[in-house]
């Protein structure tokens, strides 16, 4: 064979390397044409192929007794009993949101909804995990993204019930927008997007195909640079109304015979949807781009195959069933076109009318991308807290508490979640603003607890422990509402992995997630990887693994809230406080420092604390429970007071040999603030002894101040003013 001339410019356009190109030529035994190269480019992008992260992701535990569907499908699924399955997945839409915040966020929500719908499930909840640069500089991103998430979810009538948002310098040029969707389906009706046998018909339903979003998946696999603005056309525009009609039509399809599979069109559009559905059945497919309804004239086969126009679904049906299913689509005024069929030869053949324009082995498209083994080099040891340089402990701890609660990372999230419809569906029995949302399952007493969590700062300082903490804290959030954690979906947001420090962070974080999930008995059933999160403005983002988690309450009537609910209840601290200030919000806000070490995490202690809270909640011994997280114990107690609209009168906190500010604001893990009626105390203390967990009495609820004897005294009104104003 003559030496192959590699056109570098063309490769850059499809984001393939010269080595990958040569691999393609070798596998095909010829050079790909332009359409084929484009199709391979998108499916071999990091976004679709996980070529960088795949070897690492194998470490994650994906099995467990409740797992009905692990990674590899449109979303994961767990058995929750009473014949129900919960389906869930998280996905990023970071790059589009950096360029066009509203539409980027909106279509991120639209995409994750379709993933859940494709499993045959009705979406019942959305959650979002957001990161921005500091305000007011990043106001445009913050405003646009929150409006976009709400704009799509509100119009669809799917409640956005939980989430998190943090502001940090590193996200100024590259915000993070991770959306998680949770759905319910009867376990027996769970669908898989497998195209099945030869002769099955491929129906394309929903929006017409336009030139929008071409190369979106490849674009997600590049750093954001000065030319990013020019890629604005690669950001799609959402039409939630059309998606609502698609949702209802797909729900009607679940009861119809002859429907083989439903596959969402997301990143890499038609190319990915057809190739993946065929690959799962070991089949091939033939499709005719001339049969694809277009939004605009003059589109080339290349553009049709790579378009990422939103609100499209691929429905695979048994031959001869098209006419009877057409009535469902007609009812919802949806366009449905037969664009091809499943074949048995393992080839994906694309024609434009009679002319063949591409012929590629399905396997080469979906599994051919060579795994990239990159160099890893530990990031430089982060600075450690120089306690002596911090000076004496602050005299006015109450003033510190006011300042922390008024900081953007700790203030009330109400200005965000009141812009999301979080009630539609009549299922939200635990609304946003607490540790985790709780939704009731229709016709049942079962409650689903949902949360999403991550801490980029911890992970910058120590990606392995930081990732473990993300898992532990998400689980703690679920336990705090009385739910037993069941399973995980993860979204790995990192910088450019070709830089050895970033690849090392990715390695460390994935191993941290794996360790924590194994220790807590949690399978990872779905997820998403978003790399190349870098910008000229802020460099690489902090490594930000985000953990979405689902838990179960046998009876949602037994759910707990974080709010102190009665005067005169005992306030308790569960778990051990260490002399730790590393990575804390206190260090950042009061001293402008981001320094380690991050809080130590003892997974056995974490699990013991969870078991104790669940046992106590199950026995009806608790009046409230709240996770101690960013801001430490003082912030946690204040939050319980603010939510419960009553004060707390506590004894003085022992500092022991350590610093008093660490006792108040340090972020030691595996801790909860609980409240209980005095009569429950003996039983609680016995439980704590049985579980070998420290349980300390802090004080009593009541009044309109938060006080710690001779140490801290501040009015609830002052705390509330700061807390409520933080994000306004």
């Amino acid at each position: 064979m003559s030496p192959i001339a590699v056109d570098e410019r063309k490769l850059r356009e499809v984001a393939l390397t010269a080595a990958e190109y040569l691999e393609i030529v070798e596998q095909l035994g010829r050079e790909p044409n332009e359409v084929e190269l484009g199709m391979l480019g998108v499916l071999w992008s990091e976004h679709c192929s996980y070529k960088t992260s795949r070897p690492l992701l194998r470490q994650l535990p994906t099995e467990g007794p409740a797992v009905l569907q692990g990674p590899g499908e449109n979303a994961g699924a767990l058995d929750i009993g009473e014949g129900w399955a919960v389906v869930f997945k998280v996905e990023s839409h970071n790059h589009p949101s950096a360029i066009e915040p509203y539409q980027g966020a909106a279509t991120g929500v639209g995409g994750i909804l379709r993933d859940v719908i494709a499993m045959g499930a009705r979406p019942i909840a959305l959650l979002d995990s957001l990161r921005f640069g500091p305000l007011p500089r990043s106001q445009r991103h913050f405003e646009g993204v929150v409006a976009g998430v709400g704009g799509y979810g509100n119009c669809m009538g799917i409640p956005t019930v939980g989430g998190e948002v943090y502001f940090e310098d590193c996200y100024a040029g590259n915000p993070l927008v991770n959306a998680m969707c949770v759905g319910l389906v009867r376990a027996g009706e769970l669908r898989r997007a497998r195209a099945g046998g030869a002769g099955n018909v491929l129906l394309l339903v929903g929006a017409q195909t336009g030139r929008d979003g071409i190369h979106g998946a490849s674009f997600a696999s590049l750093e954001l640079d000065g030319a990013a603005e020019e890629r604005r056309p690669a950001v799609q525009v959402g039409n939630p109304f059309l998606e609502k009609c698609l949702l209802e039509a797909c729900m009607e399809l679940t009861t119809r015979p002859g429907v083989v599979a439903i596959q969402d069109l997301g990143a890499a559009g038609l190319t990915s949807a057809v190739a993946e559905a065929a690959a799962r059945s070991g089949a091939g497919a033939r499709l005719d781009v001339a049969a694809v309804p277009r939004r605009e004239r003059g589109m080339t086969p290349y553009q049709v195959m790579l378009s990422e126009s939103q609100e499209r679904m691929l429905i695979v049906v048994e031959p001869g069933r098209e006419a009877e299913l057409a009535e469902v689509f007609a009812r919802w005024d949806l366009e449905a076109s037969a664009i091809g069929e499943v074949t048995g030869d393992g080839q994906l053949v694309v024609t434009d009318g009679p002319a063949e324009v591409a012929r590629l082995p399905v396997e080469l498209l979906t599994d051919g991308a060579p795994v990239r083994l990159l160099d890893a080099r530990p990031a430089p040891e982060p600075p450690a807290v120089a306690l002596d340089r911090l000076g004496p402990e602050p005299a006015d701890l109450g003033g510190v508490l006011v300042r922390l609660l008024g900081s953007p990372n700790l203030g009330s999230r109400r200005p965000v979640f009141r812009r999301y419809d979080h009630m539609v569906g009549d299922a939200t029995v635990g609304p946003p603003g607490g540790d985790a949302a709780v939704l009731r399952v229709p016709g049942s007493r079962l409650g689903l607890a949902l949360t999403i969590d991550g801490n980029g700062r911890y992970c910058r300082l120590d990606p392995c422990t930081g990732a473990q903490i993300a898992v532990a804290e998400a689980a703690r959030n679920l336990v705090a509402v009385g739910a037993r954690p069941l399973g995980v979906t993860d979204c790995l947001n990192f910088g450019n992995p070709e830089r050895p420090e970033v690849y090392w962070q990715l390695q460390q974080a994935v191993s941290g997630i794996a360790t924590a999930c194994r220790a807590l008995g949690l399978p990872v059933v779905s997820g998403n990887v978003s790399l190349y999160n870098e910008s000229e403005l802020g460099g690489a983002i902090d490594p930000t693994p985000v953990i979405g988690m689902v838990g179960l309450l046998p009876d949602y009537g037994g759910r707990l809230s974080a709010a102190f609910s009665h005067d005169g209840d005992f306030i308790l601290l569960l778990g051990k406080t260490c002399d730790e200030l590393g990575g804390s919000e206190y260090l950042k806000v009061m001293h402008g420092e981001v320094a380690g070490p991050v809080p130590a995490l003892d997974l056995a202690a974490e699990r013991a604390a969870h078991e104790l809270v669940l046992a106590a909640a199950g026995a009806g011994l608790l009046r409230s429970a709240h996770d101690v997280a960013e801001g430490g114990l003082a912030v946690a107690v204040a939050e319980c007071c603010l939510l419960g609209e009553r004060g707390a009168h506590c004894g003085s906190l022992p500092a022991g040999d350590g610093r008093l500010d660490a006792a108040f604001f340090g972020e030691s893990q595996a801790r909860f603030v609980l409240s209980a009626a005095p009569r429950s105390m003996p039983a609680l203390q016995q439980l704590a002894r049985d579980h070998h967990v420290e349980l300390a009495l802090l004080g009593l609820t009541g009044g309109d101040r938060v006080t710690f004897d001779r140490q801290l005294d501040v009015s609830l009104a002052a705390l509330r003013a700061a807390w409520e104003e933080a994000l306004l």
Binding site: M156, F241, R419
Partner: protein, 233 residues
């Protein structure tokens, strides 16, 4: 007693209204498809919340042209009970069955939160279980719930007692801070002149069960149930 719940493409409170009617109230339910002119013997027609046709043009502007709306208008003219909630209120205004219009919230943001409403008129089929001046707690969820009308229309509404609900604080005071969307005179819900057509922005179907944070919404559903029973006696 049978409730008919209209389903436009883009409607989403249909399922919540249906849940309250069937599972909480124990009444009969029929969903009314927007392309269908038959009201299937419904005693009260609910136009529920959502984004009918995406509300891309103007909330409710396209839904009013649906075939079902011809029947709803005729039903209303015969004195039938028609209850528009959220998007349904917007549709009723667009259809001319109620005066005024609902424009973008004055805060320029979507709002989903609990509000307090003061009942201004208890002599309607929708509020028979309430007493005048009673404060109920009902959530809102809308981006365009700012009720506007010209001064003469507003004066006429007040004079004829057509204002049924006003946003207020927990103590029943109609303060600007208690008005979540800038509605003129704090108006949250009105009836037509005969009193058989009501539109309201808040969502009573979201607060008909203790588990969801309140049961005041159930008072409205029960009022309709009693009114319909009285009408058939």
């Amino acid at each position: 007693m049978k409730f008919g719940v209209v389903v436009f493409p883009g409607t989403w409170s249909d399922r919540d209204c249906g849940h309250v009617v069937l599972d909480v109230l124990g009444a009969d339910l029929v969903y009314l498809w927007h392309k269908d002119r038959d009201l299937h013997g419904a005693d009260c027609v609910i136009l529920p919340g959502g984004f009918s046709y995406g509300d891309y043009l103007r909330a409710g502007a396209i839904a009013r042209f649906s075939p079902v709306m011809e029947s709803v208008a005729a039903f209303a003219a015969r004195g039938g009970l028609v209850w528009g909630i959220c998007n349904g209120f917007q549709v009723l205004c667009e259809a001319g069955l109620l005066p005024g219009a609902l424009v973008r919230n004055d805060c320029l943001e979507f709002r989903c939160e609990w509000t307090h409403l003061r009942c201004e008129r208890d002599a309607t089929p929708f509020t028979g279980r309430l007493t005048r001046g009673q404060v109920v707690r009902v959530p809102i969820s809308h981006g365009e719930g700012n009720y506007v009308a010209d001064p003469a229309t507003l004066d006429a509404l007040e004079e004829r007692g057509q204002v049924v609900f006003r946003y207020c604080d927990a103590a029943g005071e109609t303060t600007p801070a208690a008005n979540p969307n800038g509605s003129q005179r704090g108006i949250a819900g009105i009836v037509d002149e005969r009193g058989n057509v009501m539109g309201m922005m808040p969502h009573p179907e979201r607060c008909a069960e203790f588990e969801l944070g309140g049961t005041d919404g159930l008072l409205l559903f029960r009022s309709v149930l009693e009114a319909a029973a009285g009408a058939t006696l």
